[in-house]
């Protein structure tokens, strides 16, 4: 951890070694540590929203269930799969960089990027559905305020109408959607940033910047990507799944 070990000047410094580090080892360590500390801040960032979610779900279980049931569970599951797959390919990309296999590394990075974009595409479809059903909270979209149609008792079921469970109210459903858009929106923003970082990796990889000795960027961006995946691993059950069983209960 510390650098007490050596002070001997590096004889053949790696071309990617920055002047203020003693050696590549120290540089890599600093990079990884830096990313981990950054991820801690990210956890706290999402933590605030998880707190709000937990609080209001515990206060308004029925409304949250009703609102949650309106989300598309198929698309949600699909997206979970996509993201897990992309995490896997990202891990493989790091692996291939570590052992110095250039082409598989490029391939893995490309697949990861494509999967990330797929996720965003599916998310966009979901958002559009919500837009159609007037479920965007408040006046975020000026021309289309929150104004869902409510399934009346005895009408025939309509997927575009909100089915309110007993005890649910429309304002609280709006609260759910507010939290839903805040959390998934922040998550999507992180995905977009991640996609940007992956593009950067691809370019540098094409220029053959990385080798077994120097691949901090791949590793560090990999950590970030996995973190974004983890956030989704929690968002998925909390937002999509937990309300389901109210239907039967």
């Amino acid at each position: 951890m510390t650098t007490d070990a050596t002070t001997a000047p590096e004889v053949h410094a790696h071309r990617a070694l920055q002047h203020h580090f003693e050696n590549m080892e120290q540089q890599r360590e600093a990079g990884t540590l830096g990313m981990w500390v950054f991820l801690v801040t990210e956890i706290m960032f999402f933590g605030g929203m998880f707190l709000a979610y937990t609080l209001y779900r515990s206060l308004f279980p029925a409304s949250f269930a009703s609102a949650s049931n309106h989300l598309d569970i198929t698309l949600g599951t699909l997206n979970t799969g996509v993201l897990i797959f992309s995490s896997f390919t990202m891990a493989m990309a790091v692996y291939f960089t570590q052992i110095g296999k250039h082409r598989p590394q490029l391939l893995c990075l490309t697949i990861t990027l494509l999967l990330g974009l797929t996720f965003l595409g599916v998310k966009a479809v979901e958002y559009y559905d919500k837009y159609e059903d007037h479920l965007i909270p408040g006046r975020l979209i000026p021309g289309n305020p929150f104004n869902p149609a409510v399934q009346e008792e005895g009408q025939k079921p309509d997927p575009h109408k909100l089915h309110l469970l007993q005890g649910a109210t429309v304002p609280q459903v709006e609260m759910f959607y507010w939290i839903y858009f805040a959390m998934t929106g922040m998550h999507a923003l992180h995905m977009i940033i991640g996609a940007g970082l992956l593009t950067f990796l691809l370019i540098f990889s094409l220029k053959r910047r990385f080798d077994p000795e120097y691949h901090s960027p791949v590793e560090v961006i990999g950590l970030y990507w996995h973190f974004v995946d983890i956030v989704w691993i929690f968002l998925f059950p909390l937002l999509y799944l937990l309300g389901r069983h109210f239907e039967h209960g």
Binding site: R28, V40, G81, R139, F234, F236, Y240, H245
Partner: protein, 145 residues
């Protein structure tokens, strides 16, 4: 110290575990467990999945202690935030100051209101364009960014 290289089969195994976990949690959501168990099951599976990602994809299993400490501290601080905030919400109903019941404020002309139909039945109508708050005072709310 040189970095640990995780074998490919570990990655594949973890990947499969994650897919299985996803399937499991979706299946569990359609099944009714008693009490709060649905929530607990879903969160347990999610935590397990996250743990796999952290340990293997993110190499924490093979990392120095400092990284463990960092991960643990993030969780610890989240726990502080939750525990102490809920120490307020969970005890509000005990303190005799009218509990913690929040209901929509009245002045806040709400977006939902009700209409009384001819037959005396009530119908919920939604009128999102009713303004909030300031409209009470007869002025359109000026919201500057």
């Amino acid at each position: 110290m040189s970095e640990h290289i995780v074998p490919v089969r570990v990655y594949i195994a973890v990947f499969l575990v994650l897919l299985a976990g996803t399937a499991l949690t979706v299946a569990a959501a359609f099944y009714d467990f008693p009490w709060q168990l649905n929530t607990i099951v879903a969160l347990t599976i999610a935590t397990a999945k996250a743990t796999f990602v952290v340990l293997y994809f993110m190499h924490v299993r093979y990392s120095v202690r400092l990284v463990w400490v960092i991960v643990a501290s993030a969780l610890f601080w989240m726990a502080i935030m939750f525990a102490l905030t809920f120490s307020d919400y969970r005890t509000r109903k005990w303190d005799g100051r009218l509990g913690m019941i929040y209901s929509p404020g009245c002045s806040v002309v709400s977006r939902t209101s009700i209409m009384r139909r001819q037959d005396g039945q009530f119908k919920r109508i939604v009128a999102s364009d009713v303004l909030i708050g300031a409209s009470q005072k007869g002025q359109a709310p000026l919201i500057s960014l």
